[in-house]
């Protein structure tokens, strides 16, 4: 039975285990600094399909089905699939779920969806409703560009503060037993909007939400930044990460030394032309299932805080003059070592 700690944080007492993960990324992500942590790197970002949206669907399907195989399970062993993506009406998640014989719960938190699906999945496990749950998200650069921004064919110049949507998908299988990294705490965020309107500066739009959730997580748990081996936001990019660090310092939380951002880590932005860094639901998914999870298994990180962040705008809201609301959810993951 879980319990509430403080205002926004809950303790997952039964500690659901992340018994396997799988991720798959596009060619550009495979040329980045985290390449060795990816399970599969595509040569063709269409992945043999006829559209970017169908390609993203195939990535999510692959991540989910391969994560299940890796856990030596069958689709019918999985009680719930919790998934979401950036495309209108969750195109990728829905059409991937159509091919999977698993009860499906669609979630949307923009780029915060990986932490959201993991959080809800862990709470469902704790409630006694599932033996196994899969949490997954995806994104695709070309599908996101044409939905949110401009036709790729225009070849528009990108703002220095702009981020590059990650082509990739990551999935995690949660189970009850075994010696694996486990989910111990979840802090569900509130929607925060500090009035940023610049759709080419998502990192700064989302930073207040990241700050609010991280601060609340520390207040609720009594922990401090140094209690974590690594705190990973995602996907604030370089500028949003700096902003978050500065704002948290104003609340006396010194993040220096163990704070990274998934969007900043996934690309070598100077060499790869990704400006402020990566973004997209797939970004924190592939970094969490790759770099973070695999280094936990190796014993390099014993306790991490994953803080996926989402910019909750739509093209309609921006056209109607709205500012950009953000949200962040934090998940604490621990592993004693294999």
């Amino acid at each position: 039975m879980g319990r509430r700690i403080g205002v926004q944080t809950v303790e997952i007492v039964s500690k659901p285990r992340i018994i396997s993960t799988y991720n798959i990324v596009g060619p550009k992500e495979g040329q980045g600094p985290l390449a060795k942590y990816f399970d599969k790197i595509l040569e063709d970002d269409l992945n043999g399909t006829e559209s970017f949206e169908k390609a993203e669907t195939s990535l999510l399907y692959t991540a989910v089905s391969e994560s299940i195989k890796k856990a030596k399970l069958k689709e019918t062993d999985i009680n719930f699939l919790l998934a979401g993506d950036l495309l209108n009406q969750l195109f990728s998640s829905t059409f991937a779920a159509r091919e999977l014989n698993i009860p499906f719960l669609g979630l949307y938190g923009a780029c915060s969806t990986m932490a959201e699906s993991l959080s809800v999945g862990a709470m469902i496990m704790e409630g006694g409703f599932a033996n196994y749950v899969v949490a997954a998200t995806s994104s695709h650069f070309s599908a996101a560009e044409r939905q949110y921004r401009l036709p790729l064919e225009m070849g528009s110049q990108r703002a220095p503060t702009a981020q590059w949507t990650v082509t990739g998908s990551g999935a995690m299988v949660l189970g009850k037993k075994g010696n694996f990294p486990c989910v111990t705490h979840v802090t569900i965020g509130k929607v925060k909007d500090y009035g940023i309107k610049d759709v080419n500066n998502m990192g700064v739009s989302m930073a207040p939400a990241a700050v609010d959730t991280i601060k609340q997580h520390f207040m609720d748990t009594g922990r401090k930044p140094s209690d974590y081996d690594i705190i990973a936001t995602g996907d604030l990019g370089k500028i949003g990460r700096q902003f978050t660090e500065e704002l948290l310092l104003e609340y006396k939380y010194d993040m220096k030394g163990n704070y990274i951002d998934c969007g900043e880590e996934i690309f070598n932005s100077e060499k790869q032309g990704t400006n402020a860094g990566g973004s997209g639901c797939g970004c924190s998914a592939v970094v969490a299932t790759g770099y973070l999870y695999k280094n936990m298994l190796k014993g390099k990180f014993k306790r991490i805080l994953l803080v996926s962040t989402g910019a909750l705008l739509s093209t309609t809201s921006s056209l109607q003059g709205e500012t950009i609301p953000g949200i962040a959810h934090a998940v604490s993951i621990e592993f004693g070592g294999e």
Copy 2:
């Protein structure tokens, strides 16, 4: 601690109570046969705002905040808001949540979202993570038309099988105690696609999902249709409802006598020109929080099964030649009487 029953159904042993509901609808819904069950009927479907999307946001905000007031609670008493809507990137839910000081989990299941938010909310309650949860959804005819179909200004003729998106929002507050209707079982559906491509025939597209979930619910629980005072799908409309009834009869489940569809009930389609009936996330939300809930409080219905159904298409998926996947989730609600 909840428990799994059969393949897709879980029992919510602690029986979270629906301690209050609130709904708000547009003028057309207020002229329909269920008018007396609505808490507020708008005279102006813009509700004083400058766009249909902002109007929908105001409906959702009103439903959530008034449901909290009706339960004699404050926003800060609510541990989670679970909400979703039809608009791209959950415009209404996000911008309503921005004005509410409540941790937010965005969900998307198209018109199945009311049952999805109620199901996930009940599972979170059972896990011990919340004292109070709000589950809510919304839709708006004019916002949906211009996003999914054609500009209203064109005045296009509607197909006889077409449905009319409900302008409305419904919210439910879940609590632990008190003599109120309570959630006892949840059956989470799988994505089903029988190859329908006609976007003007959503009811038939979703019927296979409704049939699959209802059949599975009966198999898992050992119940039969007559164990419920009322079974309400939503929003299949007249044609989808007939189709569902026929298909279930093939599996020997005779639904005659106690089966209704929220989309069919909300309008007098012959007089109101709504063709096959109502649809939209808001449809099953306002029927469930109005007609169903209020008749439970009166003792007319002691045990109901709410089966919200969603068509998981997007304009992009249809343009790319895809068929229409459907999903349905079933929630069993019981009340002994006041």
